[in-house]
């Protein structure tokens, strides 16, 4: 009697244990999503100028706020007079000023112990120069002193982030987080990769499902699976030592690390996905359809073209979408062969940078918790949503086939 009770208790414990592990799994995976978005969300609450710094101007300067691009223009010397920004501003020359410029006027000993006199001296400089804009660490800044106006800090705006065309996360005083070049670079490289891989993959799928004998299939399918099993870093290495010089020579380019090289290596990597999914879709064509077509006197090729491919079209589109998904998320291979210049993509034969490559290249250097770090997490969220969209639409496309009425 007691053993029976014991066993029943054991059963109960095991069932609870399984439930708990199921719950843990589900929740852990939910955490991944939550963490990603939580870390990224902080970006739009951080100031657009570097943390711990602020911008100061002469008290009589009517300037109220400056956008990130204006700040960059000023400190790069591209904007030199105040009324170039707005006609309300004085026609005075802009004098960009950084903390280290103080040493042109004062020696270290004149600034006192632990730079105690530094704020006063800085205030003096600002009062004397009416066109000044000073980028100073808040620790030494002349905040609140007479004749000095602090420009209010602005948060990084989502519009600047998603609409910005330059990605310069380490620029001072105001880093530029424009992800457009990265998003476009990712899509550009992936779509070209699919354009290369699709005709190839489709032909192989047709060959495997329609033409090849059982014996050929038997060794070719595992061979293609083998292609899928090669680690991406090996593809990257192969691309680096073989494709990069090849592309450079073939198109007479100064460097071989281009968007096209990236597309080539991604095309090879997407092939197994496209072949397998498309082949499955074609093999699922009902036997009656084939036989009806052949019975009507159509040839084999006509049957493939007019019956099988149209029937499998939703499966083939799913293959394309999954291939793009694989290409968009690929990190190492792209990182190693595209040259990683974060500029708007103009041509196939220039260097581009993709979202995953940016994360991989910059996360190690971005100070944890800073705006750059958060920006990389937002990029991760973008990638997450992009691939989610892709897998949902692939599922939807594949589902269309099964519900098709003959």
């Amino acid at each position: 009697m007691s053993t029976k009770k014991l066993r029943r208790a054991g059963e109960y414990v095991i069932e609870k244990l399984l439930t708990v592990s199921g719950a843990v799994t589900g929740l852990t995976m939910l955490t991944i999503t939550v963490f990603l978005f939580k870390e990224g969300a902080g970006l739009f609450r951080s100031p657009s100028v570097e943390k711990g710094y602020a911008l100061y101007v002469h008290a009589e300067n009517p300037v109220e706020r400056l956008s990130v691009n204006e700040i960059k223009g000023i400190f790069d010397g591209e904007i030199t007079v105040w009324n170039a920004l707005s006609s309300d501003y004085p026609h005075a020359e802009i004098v960009p000023y950084r903390i280290e410029d103080i040493f042109q006027r004062y020696s270290e000993s004149e600034l006192g112990e632990d730079y105690a006199l530094l704020p006063d001296k800085l205030a003096e400089v600002i009062r004397e120069t009416s066109g000044i804009i000073a980028f100073l660490p808040q620790q030494y800044a002349p905040t609140g002193m007479t004749g000095v106006k602090t420009l209010p800090s602005q948060d990084i705006r989502p519009a600047d982030f998603f609409g910005g065309t330059s990605w310069m996360p380490t620029a001072t005083p105001a880093p530029l987080f424009g992800v457009l070049p990265l998003i476009l670079g990712t899509l550009f490289v992936s779509i070209v990769a699919i354009l290369i891989a699709l005709p190839l993959g489709l032909s192989v799928a047709i060959f495997l499902s329609e033409l090849a004998g059982t014996r050929t299939r038997k060794w070719m399918k595992p061979a293609i699976e083998l292609l899928a099993g090669i680690p991406s870093v090996v593809y990257g290495f192969f691309g680096l030592v073989v494709l990069v010089p090849l592309v450079q020579r073939a198109f007479a380019l100064p460097v071989g690390e281009t968007a096209f090289t990236g597309s080539l290596i991604l095309a090879i990597m997407a092939l197994p996905t496209i072949i397998t999914v498309a082949e499955d879709a074609m093999r699922n064509t009902p036997r009656e359809l084939r036989e009806a077509s052949l019975a009507l006197g159509a040839g084999h090729w006509q049957t493939i073209r007019k019956v099988i491919i149209p029937y499998a079209s939703s499966g083939i589109s799913a293959a394309v979408v999954l291939g793009i998904g694989r290409a968009i998320g690929e990190t190492m291979a792209v990182l190693m062969v595209t040259g990683n210049a974060a500029v708007m993509p103009h041509s196939l034969f220039e260097s581009v940078r993709t979202i995953p490559a940016t994360i991989a290249a910059e996360l190690g250097e971005a100070p944890a918790g800073g705006a750059h770090y958060q920006a990389l997490f937002v990029l991760g969220c973008v990638l997450f949503l992009l691939t989610l969209l892709i897998s949902v639409s692939a599922e939807w496309m594949a589902g269309k086939q099964s519900s098709k009425i003959l």
């Binding site: 939910l30 991944i32 060959f207 680690p231 090729w301 996360l363």
Partner: protein
């Protein structure tokens, strides 16, 4: 006549493209084998890198990858198998099952670099593990968790329902049925899934970039809180950022060959196992 010619041309194209893709595979493999085979020796496999990565071997990277494989399987295997048993044997519907379904579907398509980001944020920073084997194993474990769950579920669903009803009809409890009937039958397929997961883990680079991987370590890791070198990361750094790229190239070829060898052998093993299981199923 024209349609016949068309067909011949089309089929010729498909055949040659099929061969081209196979040719591509042999090109990549052949290239790595051709350049890497000369480098591989007992010494290469069992010594540490020397002279700024231009000489010596890959022993620490091999050991690191082994640790990561073991660590990630310790995370993913029990959790994945138990969750799969729960979803397919105990609660076929319900909130937890739906949560797991949705999350595994979503996560299996998410790029591995996103797992790297997450691992860095949760394990390395929030939980304070630092760059360590522990953080890397957890990250890689989560990466393959959807794969383990899916293959285990498939394995369990491949067991005929009659086995279960038969067992229950004989008076066995649910757990007795699962542990004595269903799991033993599904076991080889579950192991195949495990091997596939090992293959995936040993080749991944992006998730370990910021959670465990070290460029060079003078000694082997001694605890799970140490950093470790790993084969794929090692290949990445010596291929792209050595001080003397020309001198490190042979080592890079050797590393690539070992990495491919390890991963492909693992995949081949899974394939063989799957085929043998297929044959067994036919006999019975």
């Amino acid at each position: 006549m024209r349609t016949k010619l068309q067909q011949q041309i089309a089929f010729f194209i498909f055949r040659s493209l099929g061969l081209l893709v196979i040719g591509l595979l042999f090109w990549i493999l052949g290239f790595i084998v051709y350049h890497g085979a000369g480098v591989i020796s007992w010494e290469f496999l069992t010594t540490a890198p020397r002279d700024g990565m231009t000489a010596g071997g890959i022993w620490p990277a091999l050991v690191g990858t082994c640790y990561l494989v073991i660590g990630s399987m310790v995370v993913a295997f029990p959790l994945g198998v138990m969750s799969a048993v729960y979803t397919s044997e105990y609660a076929r519907n319900g909130r937890i099952v739906r949560l797991i379904r949705i999350m595994t579907n979503n996560l299996s398509g998410i790029p591995s670099i996103v797992f790297g980001l997450f691992g860095m944020s949760l394990f390395v920073r929030t939980l304070g593990f630092g760059d360590s084997i522990l953080a890397g194993s957890l990250t890689l474990g989560l990466l393959v968790l959807p794969l383990v769950i899916r293959t285990t579920e498939e394995a369990l669903q491949a067991v005929p329902a009659t086995y279960r009803t038969g067992s229950r009809a004989l008076g066995a409890s649910r757990w007795q049925t699962v542990s004595r009937v269903v799991l033993p039958v599904a076991f080889p397929n579950i192991i195949t899934g495990l091997i596939l997961a090992v293959g995936r883990v040993s080749g991944e680079t992006a998730p370990i970039l910021f959670t465990v991987a070290a460029y060079f370590l003078p000694q082997l890791p001694t605890s799970i809180f140490d950093q470790a070198m790993a084969l794929p990361y090692h290949l990445y750094v010596i291929a792209t950022s050595g001080t003397d790229l020309e001198a490190t190239r042979p080592i890079a070829y050797g590393t690539a060959l070992v990495l491919i060898g390890v991963v492909l052998c693992i995949n081949l093993l899974a394939n063989l196992l799957r085929r043998r299981i297929g044959k067994h199923a036919h006999k019975s």
